[in-house]
């Protein structure tokens, strides 16, 4: 069971056997409101950490989603195109955005653990 880590951009990342699954947090989906569209990166694209690679659009606004780590996009959640509302209803499970392959086993070391992220969100309020 791998640990879920979090970024300051309100994304979650779970690393399993060299592949990181990425989505947005419950706090992020709540702040965005009802998601109506998601623009996902192309599979095979090589990304650097911090690069905006996806866009999530709610009724009221568009928001960038960043690559939390460097690597190669190996899969995107195509089901989101037809059901973008999954990002609101299941942000940390079925609402995942994309998977990034990394050769760095310590890729998530600089990210926050769940308790640190929870404190970070509390400080924003």
């Amino acid at each position: 069971m791998s640990e879920t880590k979090f970024t300051k951009d309100h994304e979650w990342v779970r690393l399993d056997g060299g592949v990181a699954t990425v989505g947005i947090t419950d706090h992020a989906q709540n702040a965005l409101g009802d998601v109506v569209f998601v623009d996902l990166p192309e599979v095979g694209r090589v990304v650097v950490a911090g690069e905006p690679i996806a866009v999530v659009e709610s009724v009221k606004a568009a928001s960038d989603v960043y690559a939390p780590i460097a690597g190669k996009i190996v899969e995107v959640n195509a089901a989101l195109s037809d059901n973008p509302g999954t990002i609101n209803s299941a942000p940390t499970t079925d609402g995942w955005f994309f998977k990034i392959e990394t050769s760095d086993p310590g890729a998530l070391d600089g990210l926050m653990d769940e308790a640190t992220y929870a404190a970070y969100v509390d400080d924003l309020a």
Binding site: V36, F37, E57, V59, K60, A62
Partner: protein
Amino acid sequence: MAESSESLLETPLASLHRELGGRMVPFAGYNMPVQYPAGILTEHLHTRAAAALFDVSHMGQAELVGEGAAAALERVTPADVQILKPGRQKYGLLTTAEGGILDDFMVANLGDRLFLVVNASRKHVDLPYIEAALPAGVTLKPLPDRALIALQGPQAVAAIATLAPGIAELGFMGVGAFTIAGVPALVSRSGYTGEDGVEVSVPAEQAEAFARALLALPGVQPAGLGARDSLRLEAGLCLYGNDIDETTSPVEAALTWTIGKRRRMEWNFPGAERVRDELANGTKRLRVGIKPEGRQPARGHTPIHAPGGAAIGEITSGGFGPSLNGPMAMGYVAREHAADGTALDLMVRGKAIPARVAPTPFVPHRYVR
């Protein structure tokens, strides 16, 4: 928008919004609910299905009193105000000497006076502008101590008529005074959603009790500015500051219908020279409805290009229509690209989204006949 929360004004319903879980945001100098816990999508759909209560108390209300008030108001608008019968309201534009739009507004004839509603963001500009144009004997009286509450949706009038049956007798754009739940109220059958409904002016100190009485009616839920914006865009209605401003003329904005027939003979309103020239010779650009293909919204300030070609305009309002179940926008395009069905490219984050000029409203109006 670097408005600090301390400097923001509040409406008389501020504590009710907090109690209802409203998410407060700065808007036109006021702290306003953008949504409640139900969310924009649900609030929008509920408005089209039943009835929603909107606090629009940030808008400017005023009375124009005195012999010749209607003629006096015509000094700042191309609308035919003098033709307006007692108990009737109309939509109009305040125009600048250069033919731009200073604001859009509602004016009602209350028999012994005119009642005006102007935009929150423009009231500090509008009221001095109107006042400066008034002859002796006509007085403008701002009404800062009144709240304005809209009840919108197919069940809105039936709901409020249980408290004041006469409201059901008002026609579209009809106005009357009623006592509702013990509160003296000025009611107009109008709104900003494309649905049937009313807008109600009440004394500020009774506004919360009044709003609670409406929220207690069957089918009524609160809705915020987010739903108000998606509803008005589906209805093809302009938002001042986005779709119209001092640089856009009534003709460019496709609001020529607000210019009275008599006023087009007299040409005696601010900016008449520009409007007359544009009606005779056409404008370089026109406001149009735009439907992007697919599901991706294109927001305000998105550049509009001819397909594969040069820039021909810009989106002024754009988003996702919950009832339309798709993206929608309005904006200005060069006149030769303004016909319904014309293909466009919307340049969103460097990619061209195909779109077409589309008739508005995107969702049919359901005003009472």
